[in-house]
């Protein structure tokens, strides 16, 4: 028996008198009683952490990232060695000349090197409301690669268990700490005891002042340096250890009443890191002007939108599951080329035409009944749909019948938080 199967068996054997996590249940029940939500943009209410904006940038696997560069210097008086240890490798990215995609957007291919350890899409396209031009894509991507490498380094170096005495756990409360890397900031002021960061991004313009601990690290060009290399106006990110404590009300001794407890957070400065590029290159709205294109699941000839994008559910079917027949869920995305009630056609990134049939006219249903909830957006020819459907792994039909369709969504174009809903 596989380990995951054994895990499922243990979870299924939960006795009825074991109370589930009521915070989780309450969060779900609260959400379902609110109005429609945008998939992929749903409010996150993790029961175990308070996620900051900075932490949202850190969805990265742990790994060992220490890269060692050894420089050998031969000196006249014999042989001496000077060792340079880079904390993370310098990212590189080269960008092709922009072309026009099937959706009519400017699209580029990128070749990456040392952009963290995570899989990186090879193609990006500019959103319609992009705050940057195609010529600026390269520097924006390089800046994000650098932030990604720093995030990974911080997680590896400062993640995991910590044993700060001030966070001693008692029988009732829970506490957590995690490293957080800020968005790009400028040093507003710096002295021996404190440092002020300003202009972190467009959503948080408040200055942040933090005490400087004795063991703070100053890092530039991937190596430890002294504070003398840092001055007001420098573009930096800073690493903090953030603490969250969840304390139940008096008389609360079980998980059941924990949601009534209190949160408080602390933020202790660990390191200040000088960035390689100008401040504006790290602007989140510049990064979010790009749509990442990844190979569609089960359709390797086509590209699907990823990254900072959203979607609205139009239809979801109940799918029977037949693992014996090697049926898997695939995805195809494309712009609508024809609308005929229950049937529609989409053109994928490779130019293939897919015919999709749904049990009812889901497009008209949205336009007539839901459009007003979504900034009066109407789905029409040219809108981008995502179709998830079940099919044998070895089959590749361009006709997706009603029985195969699992999930239909319309893609949204979002550049920054608070933007009005707009179809892609």
């Amino acid at each position: 028996m596989k380990d995951s199967q054994f895990n499922a068996l243990l979870a299924a054997s939960k006795p009825d008198n074991y109370k589930s996590n009521t915070i989780f249940t309450d969060a779900v029940m609260s959400s379902i009683k609110t109005s429609e939500i945008l998939s992929s943009q749903v409010r996150k209410t993790s029961v175990n952490k308070k996620e900051t904006l900075f932490m949202k940038l850190r969805h990265l696997p742990k790994f060992a990232i220490v890269a060692i560069a050894i420089g050998v210097l031969a000196l006249l008086s014999g042989t001496a060695y000077a060792t340079y240890q880079l904390l993370w490798q310098k990212p590189e990215a080269s960008v092709s000349k922009p072309t026009t995609s099937q959706s009519g957007r400017k699209e580029v291919s990128l070749l990456f090197s040392q952009c963290g350890t995570t899989y990186t899409p090879e193609r990006y396209e500019l959103k319609r409301d992009a705050t940057i031009t195609a010529d600026q894509i390269e520097k924006v991507v390089k800046a994000q690669c650098e932030l990604q490498a720093i995030n990974e380094w911080a997680e590896t170096t400062y993640g995991g268990k910590s044993s700060d005495g001030s966070y001693k756990i008692d029988s009732k409360s829970q506490a957590m700490r995690h490293p957080g890397v800020s968005a790009a900031a400028r040093i507003g002021s710096i002295n021996k005891s404190s440092i002020t960061f300003s202009g972190q991004n467009k959503y948080n313009t408040q200055d942040t002042t933090l005490d400087i601990p004795k063991d703070i690290r100053y890092i530039a060009n991937g190596t430890d340096v002294t504070s003398t290399q840092f001055k007001p106006g420098d573009t930096v990110v800073y690493v903090t250890k953030q603490g969250t404590r969840q304390t139940p009300k008096e008389d609360c001794v079980t998980d059941a009443c924990r949601e009534y407890g209190e949160y408080f957070t602390t933020q202790a400065l660990i390191a200040v890191i000088k960035l390689d590029r100008p401040f504006d290159d790290y602007d989140q709205s510049a990064w979010q002007s790009l749509t990442e294109l990844s190979v569609c699941e089960g359709n390797k000839e086509d590209l699907c939108l990823g990254g900072y994008s959203g979607s609205i559910d139009l239809y979801m079917n109940t799918m029977s599951q037949d693992f014996e027949k090697k049926i898997i869920t695939k995805e195809i995305q494309g712009v609508i080329t024809e609308l005929n009630g229950k049937s529609l056609k989409i053109k994928s990134s490779s130019g293939s035409i897919y015919t999709v049939t749904t049990p009812s006219d889901v497009i008209s249903s949205f336009n007539n009944n839901k459009s007003t909830d979504y900034n009066n957006q109407n789905i029409k020819i040219g809108s981008t749909l995502s179709i998830r459907y079940n099919e044998k792994e070895t089959e590749h039909t361009k006709t997706i019948d009603v029985d195969k369709v699992f999930w239909v969504t319309v893609k949204l174009e979002i550049v920054k938080k608070g933007d009005p809903v707009k179809l892609y």
């Binding site: 499922a8 979870a11 299924a12 054997s13 989780f24 175990n48 990265l60 799918m319 998830r388």
Partner: protein, 175 residues
């Protein structure tokens, strides 16, 4: 909750009694979070995705057909697709075959009452008692490795080691 109770519960929800959905969330949350955590390799993301899957399942419950699938199968399928979306959003490699295999292995099985009773007994009698405690905490109470580590004032790696040993002992007795 038996299959019949589950169908009654769904019927109640479709009649407008949304509070009945709480029973389904309670029933499947721990296993679903573990399934998502297993794919995403991250507990917090696993909880977020599991939550979103429950919400999506609720909103599309009118399309659910018990003749085609069990609720849990459908729920796990939704969650698995959301996991894939998140992996892609976070620029992580998606290996669809591996994920399908995990889905197949982790779908909650409706095991016999006698078997459930036996598993519970073996878990509760596990030695040392600490092993029983962490199995209960993770699989029955829905606690994360991080939370268990905090309770025992140890590292998540140590919890992982204890968990491996505990499961090995359980497998020896159960399989």
């Amino acid at each position: 909750m038996s299959m019949i109770d589950e169908q009654k519960c769904i019927a109640q929800i479709l009649k407008g009694n949304s509070d009945s959905y709480r029973e389904l969330v309670d029933r499947y949350q721990t296993g679903l979070i573990i399934h998502c955590e297993n794919i995403l390799k991250n507990r917090h993301d696993g909880e977020d995705v599991a939550q979103e899957a429950f919400i999506k399942a609720y909103k599309n419950l009118h399309n659910f057909s018990k003749d085609k699938a069990q609720f849990s199968t459908w729920l796990y399928r939704i969650a698995t697709n959301l996991c894939i979306d998140l992996l892609r959003k976070n620029k992580r490699q998606v290996r669809i075959k591996d994920i399908e295999t995990k889905l197949e292995a982790t779908l909650p099985t409706h095991i016999q009452d006698e078997e459930i009773a036996h598993i519970r007994k073996v878990v509760l009698e596990l030695e040392p008692p600490k092993y029983a405690e962490i199995i209960k905490a993770y699989f029955w109470e829905g606690k994360s490795y991080q939370q268990i580590a905090e309770l025992y004032d140890t590292s998540t790696n140590t919890v992982g080691t204890w968990m491996s040993r505990a499961k090995l002992k359980l497998k020896e007795k159960l399989l």
